[in-house]
C-alpha cells in the first residue's frame, strides 16, 4: 500500500481525495465564520420573541416603556431613567476618554522618540486593553466611591468606563495616525509648518474619520458594559433620570435586576430593555461604518 508521494498525486483516486479535502476545509472555514452569525441570530430571535411575548401577553406599552421610569410594579415600570443614565454615562465617558486617548496617541505616534520608555508605555497600553472590565470597576469602587467618598454616583461609573475604553481609543488613534502617509507630513514640513501646525492642519484631519470610528466602537462597547457599573453600585429601581452626581442604574444594570426578579412580567421588560440597548449599540456601530465609508474615499 505504500505509495510514494509524487506517484500518489498523479493517481485519480488521490486527486479526488485531495479535492475532497479542499472542499472539506472550505466547508470548515465557512461553518466557522457562520458560527458567530448563527449565535447572533439566535440571540436576536430569542430577545425579540421574549419582547413580543411581553407586549402581547402582558400588554406592555412601548411608549410607556420608553417615557417612564422604573417602578416596583411591573405594569407601571419603564426604562426611561435607565436610558437617561446610559446617555449621561456616554457623554461623560466621551469627554474624559476621547481627549486623553487622542492626546496619548498623538504623543506616542508623532512626538515620542523610539526609546525603551516609549516601548514600555506602548506595551502597558496593550496590557491595559486586555484587563477585564470588572477590575476597572473595583478600582473605581476602592479609589473613588469609597476612597474619595463620592458614593455610587454616575460620574464614578463614567470614570470606570472611561478607564476601560481609553486604551482602545489610543490603539485605534495610533492605527489611524500610522495610516496617514509620511509624504503628507513631509509636504507640510517643507512649507515651513511646525510640528504642531502639521499635526493640527494635516495629520489629525486626515486621521479623524478613523479616530471617530474607533471612538464610537469603543463607546458602543462601553454602553453595554455591566460589570464595572455593578461594582460602582446600582439603584435597585431607576425611577427618575439621574444627574452626574446622583446614584443611578444604567441600561445593562436595570436589565440585570429585572432578569433576577421572580415575576415573569419583569423578564419580558428585561427583554424589551435588551432590544433598546441593542438598538443603541447597532446604531452606534452603523454610525461608525458610515463615517468610515464616507471619509475613506476623501483621503
Amino acid at each position: 500500500m505504500s505509495h510514494d508521494t509524487a506517484e500518489s498525486l498523479h493517481t485519480d483516486d488521490s486527486l479526488r481525495w485531495e479535492k475532497l479535502k479542499n472542499r472539506l476545509f472550505l466547508g470548515l472555514c465557512i461553518s466557522a465564520s457562520l458560527f458567530g452569525v448563527v449565535a447572533l441570530v439566535l440571540l436576536l430571535a430569542d430577545v425579540v420573541y421574549e419582547s413580543v411575548a411581553g407586549i402581547v401577553e402582558f400588554d406592555i406599552s412601548i411608549v410607556h416603556f420608553l417615557t417612564q421610569g422604573a417602578r416596583r410594579d411591573p405594569e407601571d415600570a419603564g426604562f426611561m431613567a435607565a436610558i437617561a443614565a446610559s446617555v449621561w454615562l456616554m457623554i461623560l465617558t466621551t469627554l474624559m476618554a476621547f481627549f486623553i486617548g487622542v492626546s496619548s496617541a498623538v504623543y506616542l505616534e508623532e512626538y515620542a522618540p523610539d526609546t525603551r520608555i516609549t516601548r514600555l508605555i506602548e506595551a502597558n497600553l496593550a496590557n491595559l486593553a486586555g484587563v477585564p472590565s470588572v477590575v476597572y470597576g473595583l478600582l473605581v469602587l476602592a479609589a473613588i466611591v469609597n476612597g474619595i467618598g463620592t458614593g455610587s454616583i454616575l460620574l464614578a461609573g463614567a470614570i470606570a468606563l472611561a478607564l476601560l475604553i481609553v486604551p482602545i481609543i489610543i490603539v485605534a488613534t495610533q492605527e489611524s495616525l500610522r495610516a496617514v502617509p509620511d509624504g503628507l507630513r513631509h509636504g507640510s514640513f517643507a512649507t515651513g509648518a511646525t510640528r504642531w501646525q502639521t499635526i493640527r492642519g494635516v495629520v489629525l484631519p486626515a486621521a479623524m474619520p478613523g479616530i471617530f470610528t474607533g471612538t464610537i466602537l469603543a463607546l458602543a462597547r462601553a454602553i453595554g458594559e455591566t460589570a464595572p457599573i455593578i461594582m460602582v453600585g446600582i439603584l435597585f429601581t431607576a425611577r427618575t433620570p439621574p444627574g452626574p452626581f446622583d446614584t443611578f442604574s444604567a441600561m445593562p444594570s436595570q436589565i440585570y435586576i429585572w432578569a433576577a426578579q421572580p415575576q415573569p412580567h419583569f423578564h419580558h421588560l428585561a427583554a424589551l430593555g435588551i432590544v433598546v440597548l441593542l438598538a443603541f449599540m447597532l446604531s452606534m456601530n452603523a454610525a461608525a461604518v458610515f463615517l468610515r465609508n464616507r471619509y475613506e474615499t476623501d483621503l
Binding site: 417602578r71 416596583r72 512626538y111 467618598g149 463620592t150 458614593g151 455610587s152 454616583i153 460620574l155 511646525t194 510640528r195 504642531w196 501646525q197 453600585g233 446600582i234 439603584l235 435597585f236 429601581t237 425611577r239 452626574p244 452626581f245 446614584t247 432578569a259 433576577a260 426578579q261 421572580p262 415575576q263 415573569p264
Partner: protein, 347 residues
Amino acid sequence: MTDNQSEWERVAGVSRRSFIAAAGTVGVAGLAGCTSSFGGDDDGGDGISGTITATGSNTVAPITDRAGETFMDEYPDASVDVDPQGTGAGFSEFVQGNSDVQSASRMISEEERADAEANGVGWDYFEVGTDGLAVVKNAENDWLEEITLDELKAVWEFESDIELWSDIRDEYPDEEILLHARDSASGTFDYFTENIIGEVGLIRDDYSATSQTNEIMDAVAGNQYAFGWGGVGYYHAIADDQPIEAVPVESDVDGEFYPPEEEYIEDGVYSPMARPLFIFLSHYSLEDRPNLIGSFARFYFNGQREFAPQEGFYASPPEMPQENHDKLDAVLEDLGVEDQVDVQPDV
C-alpha cells in the same frame, strides 16, 4: 522639539489656550460642585427631604424598595436609594456608618456587632416581613412526597455522602441527585445552614451555587432528578407555568408535613423553614437626620403588612408594626429627637 518651542507657543494662539484653561476651570468647578453635594442631605428641621441610603439583602430589597417608592410618592423631596449587594456585604457598609437603612434576611452576626461597636455605630433591628424557604423538586419527580428535617440535613450537610436519590430512602431511584441552592453571600444561605444543618456555612461543597434564586428554580424545573431550595416568592412566581413543585417539609412545631403556603407560614407551623426579615436602622443616621430617617421608618412600619405581600412575601405577625413603633419611640427618646419626626404611627 526644543527648537520649535517658541514657535509652538506662538502659533498655539491665545484663544485656544484660554479655551483649555476655561475647560479646566469648568471641570474643577464641576468637581467642587460634586463634593459639596455629597453630604448635603440635611433636612433642616422642617419638611421631609434628602437621600436615604439603603444597603443589604437581595431578598428584602424589594420590600424596602417598595416602601421607599411609596414614601417617595408621598414626599417627593425625599429619595430612597436601594443598592442591594447581599446581607453580608450590606452589613460591612452599615457597621461603618455608610448606610442609613440595612435590609437583612438574618440577624446581625457576632463579628458584625463587634465591628459596629468598634466604629461607634449604634443600631436597632425591626421585623418587617416573613419569608418562607421552599424545598423544590421537578414535577416529574413522583417519588419524593415529603421530607424530614433529618433527611434534609443529611442531603446538604458538609461532606454528605448522599450522591443518589436512593441514598435518601432505598425505594427512591438509583439516579444521581442534582443539587441547586444559593451561594454563601446570601442571608438565605446563612439561615438555611444555621437552622437546617446546625451551623452557619457548614454545607457540602459539590452543589451548584448561585446568587440568583431564579436560576435555582429554572434548573429544578428543567431536570427530573434536580433538587434545591430558595425563597418561596420565586417558587410561587413560576409554579403555575413551569414543571416545579414544593416538597412538604417536616415542622419542628408539631412534626407534621406542610407545604410553603400562606396559612401555614402565617400560622407559624411552617417552621423552621420560614424566617423573619429585618431592617436595621443606624442610630447615627437617626440622630443626624431624625425627620427623614425617622419618618421613613414610621412610614415603613405603618405599611409593612402590605409591602411584604405585594412583593411575594408574607406579612409579619399583626402585632409587629406596633412593637416596631414602640421600639423606635424608645430609640428616638434616647437620642433626644422624639419630637422631630413628622410621620406618626398609624396602625
